[in-house]
């Protein structure tokens, strides 16, 4: 436009244009107000895309829910513990695919007791094949770099040599789940892939002091199934552990108290953090197993609020004595 044209820009026209601009700004403000979401973003997961972990439990047998075996050789104690519960044939059927979920959270040597012991994992793999399994998967979703964890802990090599397939976490193996009656596990990614086609699920975990939770045992071991920024759950650690016990219905859990990490858990770092207790627990009820295990850490059941929460949610019993556990010793 020329200067002349600008000079003809009148008051009425200016007011009209200013009015339109004002309406546009006000419109934007109203639209922003209407679109404002004070609760923040929510996961964009469709209900039909949510998955649910299968129930891997086996039928209950009175008097054969829990066994506690004394001994220093993990292979012998786990053999005896499973034999006491009715033998591996009770838990693994011919043709089964078995998923074993050891605690391989850290890239530390087995000697430090921060991870499941390789000897125990290997023996469990061997037992599963003995029971007729056609495939055994050993898997975890560790805190540290998965390859380093499986390599440095010795679990990867031990599992492979025993004939298991070691599955490391990959993005496509995670699916979203929502726990019915859960408060924290809602639209949350879990490590689902390795368990999708499994018939049985066995957890293997050491008994450890845990700075945040008090203790890390069978129930806490399922924390490895959580994906995403799972550390947010540390703010409500007792609830998340109880919800994990509600979400996962394993065939069997093996709780290793051969050497117990008494302090500086869950990472430890020094051999002096460990105390030899020479005890191994096998149970179909992980709440009961942990209720016994806490005693090896010199803790009372009431010191671990997640045990009461899990029992209240009917995930198991923390009155392990009511199960009449079978006690045995191996030399």
């Amino acid at each position: 436009m020329s200067d002349k044209e600008y000079s003809n820009f009148g008051r009425r026209q200016f007011l009209a244009r200013a009015g339109k601009a004002g309406i546009a700004i006000a419109g934007c403000g109203i639209a922003s107000y209407l679109l404002y979401d004070p609760t923040g973003p929510r996961p964009g997961v469709k209900v039909e895309d949510l998955v649910t972990l299968a129930d891997f439990s086996v039928p209950h047998k009175t008097g054969q829910t829990m066994s506690i075996v004394q001994g220093s050789d993990r292979a012998k104690t786990v053999d005896k513990a499973i034999e006491s519960l009715g033998g591996i044939e009770r838990f693994v059927k011919p043709g089964d695919t078995v998923a074993i979920k050891p605690n391989v959270a850290f890239a530390t040597p087995a000697m430090l007791g921060a991870t499941a012991h390789p000897q125990l994992v290997a023996e469990m793999v061997r037992l599963c094949y003995k029971g007729g399994a056609t495939k055994v998967i050993v898997t975890d979703n560790p805190i540290n770099d998965p390859t380093s964890c499986f390599t440095l802990s010795g679990v990867g090599k031990a599992a492979s040599q025993a004939g298991a397939e070691v599955v490391l976490p990959k993005t496509h193996l995670f699916k979203y789940t929502t726990l019915t009656d859960g408060r924290l596990i809602r639209n949350w990614p879990i490590f689902y892939g390795p368990f999708y086609k499994a018939d049985k699920l066995i957890g293997i975990s050491p008994i450890k002091h845990h700075h945040r939770a008090g203790a890390s045992m069978s129930m806490k071991n399922w924390y490895g199934l959580l994906g995403g920024r799972r550390n947010v759950f540390h703010q409500d650690i007792n609830t998340i552990i109880a919800e994990l016990a509600m979400m996962v219905k394993p065939t069997l859990v093996i709780l290793d108290g051969t050497e117990v990490m008494m302090t500086n858990g869950p990472t430890g770092g020094s051999v002096s953090d460990l105390k030899r207790a020479n005890t191994l627990i096998a149970s179909t009820d992980c709440v009961a197993a942990d209720s016994y295990g806490c005693g090896l850490l010199n803790l009372n059941i009431s010191d671990l609020p997640y045990l009461a929460k899990a029992e209240k949610a009917k995930a198991g019993t923390n009155n392990y004595k009511s199960l009449n556990p079978i006690f045995a010793t191996v030399s």
Binding site: H211, G228, R229, N231, H234
Partner: protein, 345 residues
């Protein structure tokens, strides 16, 4: 009145509509993207992170920081990784809050492996805790019982176990964790620690003044601990040091916390006594008259709480009252000497 020519006016309208359409499309795009936003998909990568442009450690060589700290005969087994408070849990999981609550800034870590034996490896963890006091806190509360206190460092805030070595160096708390208990690895770990002391530059090695306030007589070496908050479960007791004494064959835990002034120390001591009573403590007659009203029976153990000058101090969960009072007198006398010396200056 409309003096803008028709052609120009139409052009203005067209341009305006195009611009508004573009803004509208951007708005729609943002709306769709935000609707699909899911925090749980955005975990922080566990892969190695690049070192900061400002090196944390100054070494003689221009090599990646931690590599230059490896002992002779060892190679790198991993790259240097750096963790901050947002992702520290990826490295140490449930122990992260212990560090974060104590002023944690960064963790630098790397593994080294023996050139001659692949079963021998160590992990070096260097925690930047911002201050020596913070570093001492995480060092002391994790200190393993019956560990060997090392005298090769000054100040001697170092100890080793059969497979590891732990020490503080300025603002850093450092762990060297070995894969086995072999003598060869143990020597390499000590060499690595000495290398770190020589190479890792810190502003100034400062002593923690409160540690010298504990009377040295009967003090168990290396037993001092620092609780930055909630000592003994009481909120008012922060920056609280504890130390163990061996008196008449019994182990006694003494504590002290330096407050801003005499009034605050008296108030905190009084509040802590109330806290003890609320939690089941029963006042009991003191053998030493000066400790009357400051001595309690707490479920069969003796608690003593008093203040001298700006110090709140006492004895925690002693099994024998007589020994507890003896230790309390030692503490009180030391504080009186200190307070008088300060007020004389």
């Amino acid at each position: 009145m409309d003096s803008v020519p028709g052609r120009a006016r139409h052009l203005e309208y067209a341009v305006s509509i195009c611009l508004l359409a573009v803004i509208f499309l951007i708005g729609i795009g943002v709306f769709i993207k935000q609707s699909d936003y899911d925090m749980s998909r955005f975990g922080i990568s566990a892969t190695p992170i690049e070192l900061p442009s400002q090196p944390l450690v100054l070494t003689r060589e221009k090599k990646p920081v931690l590599v230059s700290l490896k002992p002779r005969g060892f190679d790198s087994l991993s790259e240097t990784e750096v963790y901050e408070s947002e992702n520290l849990y990826e490295k140490i999981n449930g122990k992260a809050p212990l560090y974060i609550d104590s002023g944690f800034v960064k963790l630098f870590t790397q593994r080294f492996i023996s050139e001659s034996d692949e079963d021998l490896w160590m992990e070096l963890l260097v925690y930047d805790m911002a201050t020596t006091k913070n570093a001492f806190s995480v060092y002391s509360v994790q200190r393993r019982a019956d560990a060997d206190i090392l005298s090769l460092f000054h100040p001697s805030n170092a100890y080793r176990t059969s497979n590891a070595l732990y020490f503080i160096h300025g603002k850093y708390y450092i762990e060297l964790i070995g894969s086995s208990e072999s003598g060869e690895l143990s020597k390499a770990i000590i060499a690595a620690a000495q290398n770190i002391q020589a190479s890792l530059v810190v502003d100034k090695i400062v002593a923690i003044p409160e540690l010298s306030l504990f009377p040295q007589e009967n003090l168990v070496p290396g037993s001092a601990k620092l609780y930055l908050a909630n000592a003994f479960g009481f909120e008012g007791l922060f920056d609280t040091f504890t130390a163990q004494y061996k008196i008449d064959g019994e182990t006694i835990m003494a504590f002290l916390s330096k407050r801003a002034g005499i009034t605050e120390a008296k108030t905190i001591a009084g509040d802590y006594r109330k806290f003890l009573i609320e939690n089941g403590a029963i006042p009991k007659k003191a053998i030493d008259q000066s400790l009357e009203g400051k001595t309690f029976d707490f479920y069969g153990t003796t608690e003593i709480v008093f203040s001298v000058g700006p110090f709140v101090a006492g004895i925690h969960e002693a099994e024998n009252q007589q020994t507890a009072e003896k230790a309390a007198r030692l503490l009180a006398n030391k504080f009186r000497m200190f307070t008088e010396a300060v007020s004389d200056e």
